[in-house]
């Protein structure tokens, strides 16, 4: 087991933190559940962790917009800690609501806290979509998918706001995951592409390949009883990277 600890950040309304921590553990990593409020109140510090995951859920009830209040807190109250964390080249993963948080905070795609250049808007169906999807891994440089390029991974999605909207001015979003059809090709067809994502985009990384955001849930495809264990590959890459 690596000595490095991964912070699993959660706030009121986050509801996937425990299984995310379990998946990291399953991959041989060391997770720590960190309450956002404890960071704000100074009971915990981001610098004590070597990586961070923002898990899924409905943080603050999705009030004002999915991930908005979590992101506002990160950017306004924890900006210095966040900037330092990014500058130290530490990996960050945002899953579902966590992906929404990272885009609302400007961490994805441009590593620029407070400058939003991407959003995840309401699904084309205007509904919550609970599905099992296939994801084609691109060959973009990304720590989280190292060695997985060209593979098709199976894991669940469960969200109502997951349609990516990329700002046209030159952002550096690099697509890591595409929703794929039964043949493993990127698809725009519903429900294999569950939210109407243009370009079939399911997950993106930043210019360093260290920050990853994706709508599907790798932690729900990591544990022995689950229908697929493809998600574990992402967490194994994290553990390998932290062990270097």
């Amino acid at each position: 087991m690596s000595e490095a600890t991964t912070a699993v950040l959660y706030a009121p309304g986050t509801n996937c933190h425990e299984e995310t921590a379990a998946a990291i553990e399953q991959a041989g990593g060391r997770p720590a559940l960190v309450l956002l409020r404890d960071l704000v109140d100074g009971r915990a510090r981001l610098e004590d962790y070597q990586a961070a995951v923002v898990p899924g859920g409905f943080s603050y009830g999705d009030h004002l917009g999915a991930g908005r209040i979590f992101a506002t807190t990160l950017v306004a109250r924890l900006r210095d800690q966040l900037v330092k964390f990014l500058a130290s080249q530490k990996p960050i993963l945002g899953i579902c609501n966590g992906f929404q948080v990272l885009t609302e905070a400007g961490i994805l795609p441009d590593r620029a806290p407070g400058e939003r250049a991407m959003a995840l808007i309401e699904n084309q169906s205007a509904r919550f979509e609970d599905r099992k999807v296939r994801l084609l891994v691109s060959s973009e440089k990304c720590m989280w998918t190292e060695g997985l390029a060209g593979q098709v991974l199976e894991m669940p999605v469960a969200h109502a706001e997951g349609r990516p909207l990329l700002c046209e001015r030159g952002n550096r979003a690099q697509v890591v995951f595409y929703y794929a059809d039964i043949e493993g090709r990127p698809t725009l067809e519903y429900p294999a592409n569950p939210n109407g994502a243009p370009g079939a985009v399911a997950g993106v990384t930043d210019s360093t390949g260290l920050v990853l955001g994706l709508m599907p849930h790798p932690e729900r495809a990591s544990l022995p009883a689950q229908y697929s264990r493809d998600g574990l590959k992402l967490f194994r890459n994290l553990v390998r990277w932290l062990g270097k």
């Binding site: 009121p12 309304g13 509801n15 996937c16 425990e18 299984e19 379990a22 998946a23 553990e25 309450l35 409020r37 404890d38 899924g56 859920g57 409905f58 603050y60 009830g61 999705d62 009030h63 004002l64 917009g65 908005r68 209040i69 506002t72 807190t73 306004a76 109250r77 609302e104 407070g114 939003r116 250049a117 991407m118 959003a119 808007i121 309401e122 699904n123 084309q124 169906s125 205007a126 509904r127 919550f128 979509e129 609970d130 599905r131 099992k132 669940p156 469960a158 109502a160 909207l165 700002c167 429900p191 849930h217 932690e219 729900r220 990591s222 544990l223 022995p224 009883a225 689950q226 229908y227």
Partner: protein, 902 residues
């Protein structure tokens, strides 16, 4: 103080598009467009510009100081919370503003402006009133309205004394009805006598408490009058099952799991509110039953839930919907939206989403379950001790849900929709989610002596029950209110959601407060437990309630009930047996497209089935993840050497939860109810499978236009069990071509009464499939258990609605394989009955070559074999009868329900 406003429009508004298409297909084809503009109202000395990043995201929203809607394009209806009521988002906006350093923001509100292009003002308002807001807490904001403050304002009514002395029987009944107490004469007279004995008139608060505590919903007067309340629990006691940890006493039932954990189950109906306001009713159905898990023992954790809905046929023409009832299509679509709205943010996987129809469900059937997990040492709560703190936590108390208990205990009439709208609660899952996280922490820290949820009857019922053995004294002035105009009895009875009551040992109060603050859960010390066995409440310097617990809990008169066996007129079936391939095709489609058999994933895919990472088998499975499994398997203990699971188990390790929904009591209904309860209680005892939790509702009658519409006497039994290893679970999808398809158990094709097949002809029939007796059920189960242990079958499913045929289709659909079935079997009777008969208790198994010997001595029929090609092929003595591809059948199967909800 200055009030600012910010108007926001979505550049691409999927919600507006979705409402537009919904309205257009629901009687409003003239609607040309729908635009939704969100308005933020901000009071205080703030920089709006600095707040903008919190309120809008310019990537997908346009913000402005003035409305961007052009009034000439169509009427605009603006909906806001009432002045006395706090918006649920207000605390989030205030917290966000503080995070941004904008501390001058004192209050905030939201409103939504809907512009209906192509409609007249009146029609727009009608649609808004019916679909877009709840008039108990929200209202239409008139154009040009001047606002001086956003803060909640309002004045409560004073507490009044109500003198019953001298009122005649008739006057008592009239008063009871006029005040929405719905207490029968016997109860009114008991209260009148109590008034005389205590030599003072009761306060309105006291009578309100008595009426709701004695309502059928809370006190189960109907079941008590029939002597049924203890019937199931007595059977459970006699079974004395070693795995039962808690039954019928607590908010849920508990079954021993592995590793010193207990799994819990509770089912709760919310029929009345869901019938008059489905969105609010269904959302709070889930909120309420989840709180039963949280309020089990010293605080459980929810790991799964269900939604089971019974309505009239959603395809009913408008004119056939009874006056005073909502259109069933609206109930179904709103209920789906509400289940998604509540259970997804709660982070609780959906185990069983089930939708059923019957012409009797004018007052709909709305059942939800919650399954939970708790360490064994916390599964039994303690009694509160005198001096313990009564701590209220969760949401603020408002006007929502007042008289829910009494209103739901009465029948429904054409006027109920108007009169009792206040009985509908509003749900806010984020509030419940917060204490769902905090409760296990409180429990493990020793802060919980006892815990219960606030449901029907609100504060009064929760403190009254928890303090029944001791006494309790509370102060209503400290209750956090979202509505300033609530008077004492309304605070006591409000069924505002997301509240829990905890008895905290006094030395643990500081720690409790610290934990709740950390999890951002609102909390208040409501009072404390006493030793005088009285319920006492104070408000504005007055003692407004002073009732002895013995009167509250022991003095309710139970009216006796007359029982008479109903005279039934049942006609035998008149259904032609299919002869040609096209007639077989027609019969097959009748069953496949029947509402009960059809693909219901259009609803199910809107509910999270994999959250918590514990799902081993979800409600939809197979290769396509679209095959209904009729099963939910969870592996809730993480990091263990084996993965223990809930569901799909040895029958020696099962427990049951019952939910009854029956019409209002009449002699014939009483007979049916009594027989139902006695039958399942006896069966439970004979099988040795105990009921550990249950709930009854006896108000399933609607009176409309001189017509009485009774719900069909409804019983839902859910099964909870354990299995030591998820890998032992077998699902229904076929595994391998060449395997034999075997029916194990009895088959009687002529007994089609009550089947889906008969129903598809609009018939019921007079002969149901023979019920198995307990001894043969046990023998059948022992056989299957043996076959399972030997690995003698690779897939399997129980025969139910849609008969053998539906299972063949599902098993093929789920696997991408097919089946060839030969009807030439040593079974007498109709050939269609062989496929569509509902041989409850029999099972369909896929037996691989070489495993045949395990079937020796087992009553079984080899129906055919699994084939590579995804087709269903029917033959008789080798000659083709009918065949079709799975894809063509699936297209028909998936259409029925989608057409209703999309």
């Amino acid at each position: 103080m200055a009030i600012h406003s910010v108007y926001a429009l979505y550049k691409d508004d999927a919600e507006a598009r979705s409402w537009l298409s919904f309205f257009r297909s629901h009687g409003c084809p003239a609607l040309d467009g729908l635009v939704i503009e969100r308005v933020f109202w901000l009071e205080g000395d703030v920089s709006v510009e600095r707040l903008l990043p919190l309120l809008v995201n310019p990537l997908y929203q346009d913000a402005s100081e003035r409305s961007q809607l052009d009034p000439s394009l169509g009427p605009i209806v603006e909906i806001a919370y009432r002045p006395a009521v706090t918006d649920p988002e207000t605390p989030s906006i205030l917290a966000g503003a503080r995070a941004l350093g904008e501390n001058g923001l004192e209050f905030a509100r939201l409103s939504r402006r809907y512009q209906f292009v192509g409609l007249q003002e009146a029609e727009a308002r009608r649609l808004a009133a019916r679909f877009l807001y709840n008039k108990i807490v929200e209202r239409v904001r008139e154009p040009g309205e001047v606002v001086t403050t956003l803060r909640p304002t309002g004045t409560p009514d004073p507490v009044r004394a109500i003198l019953l002395a001298g009122l005649s029987d008739k006057e008592l009944v009239e008063l009871s009805h006029a005040r929405s107490w719905y207490a029968p004469l016997s109860q009114m007279k008991a209260i009148q006598a109590h008034e005389l004995a205590q030599r003072r008139p009761h306060t309105d608060a006291e009578i309100e408490i008595l009426a709701q505590s004695w309502s059928d919903h809370c006190f189960h007067t109907t079941w008590k009058s029939l002597g049924l309340l203890k019937r199931l629990s007595a059977a459970t006691a006699r079974i004395n099952h070693p795995l039962v940890v808690s039954s019928f006493k607590d908010n849920a039932g508990g079954l021993d799991f592995y590793e010193d954990w207990v799994v819990t189950i509770k089912g709760e109906t919310h029929n009345f509110p869901s019938s008059i306001a489905p969105f609010g009713g269904i959302a709070t159905k889930h909120g309420g039953v989840i709180r039963d898990t949280l309020g089990f023992g010293k605080g459980g954790y929810p790991i799964g839930g269900s939604t089971i809905m019974g309505t009239m046929d959603p395809r009913l023409p408008d004119q056939e919907v009874p006056a005073g009832a909502l259109h069933p299509q609206l109930i179904v679509t709103e209920s789906i939206r509400a289940t998604a709205y509540y259970t997804n943010p709660m982070g609780i996987p959906m185990m069983h989403p089930i939708y059923r129809i019957h012409p009797g469900y004018a007052k709909c059937f709305a059942l939800g379950h919650s399954v939970g997990l708790i360490p064994r040492r916390y599964a039994i709560k303690d009694e509160p001790r005198p001096g313990d703190v009564a701590l209220l936590m969760g949401g603020e108390t408002g006007r929502d849900g007042i008289h829910g208990a009494t209103a739901s205990s009465t029948g429904m009439t054409g006027e109920t929709l108007e009169k009792e709208f206040a009985a509908v609660q509003i749900g806010h899952p984020i509030t419940e989610r917060k204490f769902t996280s905090a409760i296990p922490v409180l429990r493990d820290a020793g802060c919980v002596r006892s815990i219960t949820d606030l449901g029907a009857g609100g504060i009064s019922c929760a403190v009254g029950e928890m303090g029944a053995e001791t006494g309790v004294r509370i102060d209503l002035d400290v209750v956090p209110l979202k509505d300033r105009s609530l008077t004492a009895w309304e605070i006591l009875l409000s069924e505002s959601q997301e509240r829990m009551l905890v008895a905290v040992p006094p030395e643990k109060l500081a720690e409790t407060v610290a934990i709740l603050d950390r999890y951002e859960v609102l909390h208040t010390v409501l009072g404390h437990f006493t030793d005088n066995k009285r319920l006492e409440a104070f408000w504005q310097g007055q003692k407004v309630v002073d009732l002895e617990m013995s009167f509250l809990w022991e003095a309710c008169p139970i009216d006796s009930t007359v029982i008479a066996e109903p005279q039934r007129q049942l006609a035998s079936l008149d259904i032609p047996e299919p002869a040609t391939a096209s007639e077989w095709g027609e019969a097959v489609r009748r069953v496949l497209t029947h509402y009960h058999c059809a693909d219901q994933q259009a609803a199910g895919s809107q509910f999270d089935t994999t959250v918590q990472g514990r799902t081993a088998v979800g409600p939809f499975g197979g290769k396509s993840h679209r095959m209904p499994t009729n099963l939910y398997v969870s592996a809730p203990l993480r990091g263990k050497t084996y993965e223990a699971v809930v569901a799909g188990a040895d029958y020696h390790e099962l427990a049951l939860c019952d939910n009854f929904y029956t019409p209002r009591l009449r002699p014939d209904i009483a007979w049916d109810l009594k027989r139902m309860v006695e039958t399942i209680a006896d069966l439970s005892e004979q099988l040795g499978i105990p009921f550990i939790s249950g709930k009854d509702s006896s108000s399933g009658t609607m009176e409309s236009g001189g017509r009485r519409i009774d719900v069909p006497p409804t019983l839902v039994v859910s099964v909870l069990g354990r299995v030591p290893d998820v890998k032992e679970i077998v699902t229904k999808d076929f595994r391998s071509p060449g395997d034999r398809i075997v029916l194990v158990g009895r088959a009687n094709p002529d007994l089609l009464g009550g089947s889906v097949y008969a129903d598809s002809y609009g018939q019921r029939g007079d002969r149901l499939f023979d019920a198995y007796d307990a001894a043969s059920i046990r023998a059948q189960w022992d056989t299957i258990l043996h076959l399972h242990r030997e690995g003698a079958y690779l897939s399997g499913s129980a025969i139910a609605e849609g008969g053998v045929f539906l299972r063949l289709f599902e098993a093929s659909f789920g696997s991408g394989l097919g089946a060839r079935i030969d009807l030439n079997l040593p079974i007498k009777g109709r050939r269609d009955g062989l496929l569509f008969g509902e041989f409850v208790g029999s099972v369909l198994l896929e037996v691989p070559p070489g495993m045949d010997s395990f079937l020796d001595g087992v009553s079984h029929y080899v129906l055919g074999e699994v084939i590579e090609e995804p087709r269903l092929i029917l033959t008789e003595a080798g000659h083709g009868v009918w065949q079709d591809s799975i894809s063509s059948l699936a297209a028909a199967w998936s259409k029925t329900f989608r057409e209703v909800v999309e």
